[in-house]
Each structure stands twice: as structure tokens, then as C-alpha cells.
């Protein structure tokens, strides 16, 4: 990125987190995935969406952590939550019950229809790499009203064909969700470190609708494993404001200090 696009000196990852945070509304009830989604959701809460309800799958509803949790079950999530429920209640009453407006997921592998793999690289029964698996994602993907996805672009991550359907996006595209009896919208937004993508209304293929400041079409294509489609009217994502950037950096500095804590030397 050239300096005239970037007087504040933000990184592509910071742009990604801030663009993702802007997509959340004050009245959203958001089921938060760990990692990049968690940072975006908390920046939203600390800037334009102070009343947003953040839910982590450990059962913490309406949580407001001062630092980003390392796991989905950190103590601070419970201490700052409106209420903490048991895990079966979380999945039955709150997720399956249709009370989640946005499920916010990350991905190890993603295809152009928003299908996600976090289970295996290679064959399921003889995996090259056994990844942690789906956790809550298979049902978050189908029971939340909408799904937002955020990940940094790489050719290994954004692929033509994923190795395993951990959580279902738009399947083969078109009305595939409807044909399987899934009545929620599925992936409606993908925010990467380079661009904002939305599914084509008919084919459901993710299409670039906005590129971050200074990013070129070539950069977007080089870091993506499928042939990228760009919207005719392509926007430029507004650069992070000073408030957004300061909020994110303060949050990450607090998080780093808290996680290193008294054991910094031991962990290094």
C-alpha cells in the first residue's frame, strides 16, 4: 500500500478486522468464532455498536471482555456476561432456537460458495493433516440467520475445492441450501485482508464488491485459488479512522499483556 492511501500506517490485517467490525450492527446478536472474528466483534462493541450481544459457544451470553480471549471459554467471558448457560442450552435454545442474527466464522479452507473446511487436509480416513474439526460451526452455519466469514487471503486457504465440508455455505451455489431444507441465508459477507466480498444473488458465488485502499485486482487474484469475479461497480473500502485503529491496537496491546502475564519467559 502506498503512503498516500495509508497515512495512519494500518496493516492489511488491521484493515480486515476493522472492515469486519463495521458490518456488525448495534442490535445484532452475534455468535463469535475465535481468532479474527473475535477481534472484529469486540472492535464493533468498543466503537459503533456498544449494545451488540456477543455470544461465545462456551455459554457466555452478552459478554464484554476487556481483552480478547485466548480460548472460547476464558474466565473473563463469564465474568462480564449478562448470563452464562450450559452448553446444551446454548446450542438448543439460543442457536437452534433461531435467536442468533449473525454467526461469525473463520476458516482454514474456504471455497467460492462460502463452504468451510476446518476438519482435515486430504482424505478424511487417511488425513494428511488432522485439523481440530468443526466444534460448533456445522450448526452455526445453518441456524444463524446470516453468516459472516473473515480470513486473510492465501492460495492454500481460498481454494477451488475444499477437502471436507465442515460447515455448509451455499454448497454448489444457487438454491442448494433451500434444496437441503436450510431456510437461513448462509454466508452473506466475506471480509479478507484485501477486499469485501458478497455472494452473487443468483449463483451465490462470492464476488468482490469493495477493495481496501491501495489494493489491486491482481493482488486479490494472486492470493485466491479460484478465478475471482469483480462487481461492475467496485467500491474502495474507507480506510480505518483514527478511532477504529486506536481501539483495535489498544485491545491487542491489552490482550498481549494479559496473555503473556507472569509466564512470558516460560512461553517464549
Amino acid at each position: 500500500m502506498s503512503d498516500n492511501h495509508n497515512p495512519l500506517g494500518f496493516s492489511p490485517n488491521e484493515m480486515m478486522t476493522i472492515a469486519a467490525s463495521r458490518a456488525l450492527r448495534n442490535d445484532d446478536v452475534c455468535f463469535v468464532g475465535i481468532g479474527a472474528p473475535s477481534a472484529a466483534c469486540n472492535v464493533a462493541r468498543l466503537t459503533h455498536a456498544p449494545d451488540i450481544t456477543l455470544i461465545y459457544e462456551s455459554g457466555t451470553i452478552g459478554t464484554a471482555p476487556d481483552v480478547l480471549p485466548l480460548s472460547i471459554g476464558d474466565g473473563e467471558l463469564c465474568e462480564t456476561a449478562v448470563t452464562t448457560v450450559a452448553v446444551p442450552e446454548m446450542f438448543r435454545y439460543w442457536l437452534q432456537g433461531g435467536r442468533i442474527s449473525i454467526g461469525f466464522l473463520g476458516a482454514a479452507q474456504l471455497d467460492k460458495f462460502g463452504n468451510i473446511n476446518t476438519t482435515v487436509i486430504g482424505d478424511y480416513f487417511h488425513p494428511k493433516t488432522r485439523l481440530p474439526g468443526g466444534g460448533g460451526a456445522p450448526e452455526i452455519a445453518t441456524s444463524s440467520k446470516e453468516i459472516y466469514i473473515t480470513m486473510a487471503q492465501t492460495r492454500r486457504g481460498m481454494v477451488e475445492k475444499i477437502d471436507f465440508f465442515t460447515s455448509f455455505g451455499h454448497g454448489e451455489g444457487g438454491d442448494h441450501r433451500k434444496r437441503l431444507g436450510i431456510d437461513t441465508a448462509g454466508p452473506t459477507l466475506l471480509i479478507t485482508d484485501l477486499a469485501i466480498w458478497k455472494p452473487d444473488p443468483a449463483t451465490k458465488e462470492f464476488t468482490v464488491v469493495s477493495m481496501h485502499p491501495g489494493v489491486t485486482r491482481e493482488q486479490v487474484q494472486e492470493t485466491c485459488g479460484w478465478v475471482v469475479k469483480f462487481a461492475e461497480a467496485l467500491d474502495e473500502t474507507p480506510a480505518p479512522s483514527e478511532l477504529e485503529l486506536t481501539t483495535l491496537r489498544d485491545l491487542q496491546a491489552r490482550t498481549k499483556a494479559a496473555h503473556e502475564g507472569p509466564w512470558k519467559a516460560k512461553a517464549a
Binding site: S71, G75, A86, T129, P138, E139, P262
Partner: protein, 285 residues
């Protein structure tokens, strides 16, 4: 009726070779001390059940104690992969291991069905998910009232469940607080339940009436093990040892390093060593 026993005896009396066993805890209150005692006693051919197998199942799998694992997320929470479990699944080392994989919703519903005495759980799940194609225990039923096709999985009914909790009263009733995960369901679903606790108090007379208390007659044995869930945490007692989770990633990456660590930190230690491990984490809680 709950008996107060030293952990060594509680594990010996309740766990057997070949059992299906759940050491439950959803990031919080993980029963590490009980798992380490099971490792010291050298049980084998276990079916390990847990929504979120983390370090303790990585350790048990690495020691060759498991013939099968039932899970929904097999990772080091917030850090990455479980390297001993990967070695078993990918390379059959130190032995091959059967895998039964679910989603969190699937496991949570299955435990709840087990606690409710039902043969199976019914829920809206696995739609379009690849797990339904690789796990024969994921089936479907049609709602007789609406015609909606729903997922069905067999209930989970472990031979024995181990959990860690904050406190017991002198009669043996147990209080669990904070992120309570699936522990109540896992206890009620099991034939036998063993609980390690941070402390014993005279009575629970001052508790709020709606707290999660497991009555003493739902528990086989209670062992007092302060610090018994390290490196996870006990809400109100000590904080999570995040550095230990990061450190585990390096230990488990190497077969020899793993064996040496297990020898020094598990085999040659006892339940009494846990209290000292959380000393520096108590102020932070």
C-alpha cells in the same frame, strides 16, 4: 452415595480397562488431576469421550491408553492442533485409534439425551455437513407432526464420568460455577461419576437456590484436589495458565520430549502436586 476418597482410590475403584469414559470440562474446570491419576495407574483400551479433547486426551492418547475417541473439537484451545492425537490418527502411533466425530450440537444433545435416559437425541443439525457422510452414528428421523427431517444421534452414556468442581459440602453435594459446560449432563448420563473439588465447606446453606448443585446421590466418589484442573482454571480460585497451553504445543510435537515430560510431570508426581502449580495463578483469578 458420594464417598470421600483419596484420588488414587477413587480412580482405582471406578475406572476399568476397556471402559468408555468422559473427562469433561469445556475449557474451564478440566479434570487434569483425575486424568493424570488414570495415566499413572496405566489403564488401557479406553473409549475416550469429550466434546473438546485437549491436553489430557493428547496425553492419554500419546501414552497409548485409548482405542477410540469420541469428540467434536480436537484442538489445543486458542493455540492450534493436538500433536499426539494427530500422530495417532495420521500415523497410528503409538497405536491406531478409532475416531467418532460429531459437532458440538451433536455431542451436547447426545449427553443431554443420556442424562434424560433416552436412547437417542433429536435436533436440527448436520445439514449439508460432511460429518454425516463419514460417521454412521449420524442418522435422521422425520418429525411425525410436521414432516421436518431432523438429525438423530445415539445418546452418550459413559461407564464413568470425571469432572472437576469448585466445592463439595460435608455431605458430598457438589457445586459447579462459571462456565458449566456439559458437566451436569455428563455426570447424570454416566453409570458412575467421580468429582475432584477445590475444597470442602461445612454446608451449602447460603447458596442461591438456582445454582448448579449435583446432589450427593448422583456421585460415586469425591476427592479433594486443590489446583486439580491446572492448566485450565477454576472460576473464583485461579486463572487459566495460558503459557502452559502454548508450551504444550512444543512438548507434544516430539515423541521423546513428550515421554520425558510425562515421566517427570505425571508418572513421578501425585495429586498432591497440583496445589503448587496454581499458586502464581491465584491472585489473577
Amino acid at each position: 452415595m458420594a464417598k470421600f476418597l483419596p484420588l488414587e482410590q477413587a480412580v482405582a475403584e471406578n475406572l476399568n480397562n476397556g471402559d468408555s469414559v468422559a473427562f469433561e470440562g469445556f475449557t474451564h474446570l478440566i479434570p487434569t488431576a483425575a486424568a493424570h491419576e488414570a495415566i499413572r495407574q496405566g489403564f488401557g483400551d479406553l473409549t475416550l469421550i469429550r466434546m473438546t479433547p485437549d491436553l489430557i486426551y493428547d496425553q492419554m492418547i500419546g501414552m497409548g491408553m485409548a482405542k477410540k475417541i469420541v469428540f467434536s473439537y480436537i484442538g489445543n484451545p486458542g493455540v492450534g492442533l493436538l500433536r499426539r492425537a494427530r500422530d495417532a490418527i495420521e500415523n497410528g502411533f503409538p497405536r491406531s485409534i478409532e475416531v467418532e466425530e460429531h459437532s458440538h450440537a451433536g455431542m451436547a444433545n447426545a449427553y443431554e439425551a443420556g442424562a434424560a435416559g433416552l436412547p437417542c437425541a433429536v435436533f436440527r443439525g448436520y445439514r449439508g455437513a460432511g460429518l454425516a457422510a463419514v460417521n454412521p452414528n449420524i442418522k435422521s428421523v422425520t418429525c411425525p407432526f410436521t414432516g421436518e427431517v431432523l438429525a438423530a444421534v445415539p445418546s452418550i452414556r459413559p461407564d464413568v464420568t470425571f469432572i472437576h468442581a469448585q466445592k463439595a459440602d460435608r455431605k458430598g453435594n457438589v457445586l459447579v460455577e462459571g462456565i458449566i459446560g456439559i458437566q451436569k449432563e455428563a455426570v447424570l448420563a454416566a453409570k458412575r461419576a467421580v468429582v475432584t473439588v477445590e475444597e470442602v465447606v461445612d454446608n451449602f446453606d447460603d447458596l442461591h437456590p438456582n445454582l448448579t448443585v449435583l446432589p450427593r446421590w448422583t456421585i460415586a466418589a469425591i476427592s479433594v484436589v486443590p489446583g486439580g484442573s491446572h492448566p485450565s482454571y477454576a472460576h473464583g480460585y485461579y486463572a487459566r495458565d495460558n503459557a502452559a497451553y502454548l508450551e504444550w504445543d512444543e512438548i507434544a510435537a516430539d515423541r521423546k520430549k513428550f515421554q520425558a515430560w510425562m515421566q517427570a510431570n505425571v508418572i513421578e508426581k501425585s495429586a498432591d502436586d497440583f496445589a503448587a502449580r496454581v499458586g502464581h495463578l491465584r491472585k489473577a483469578a
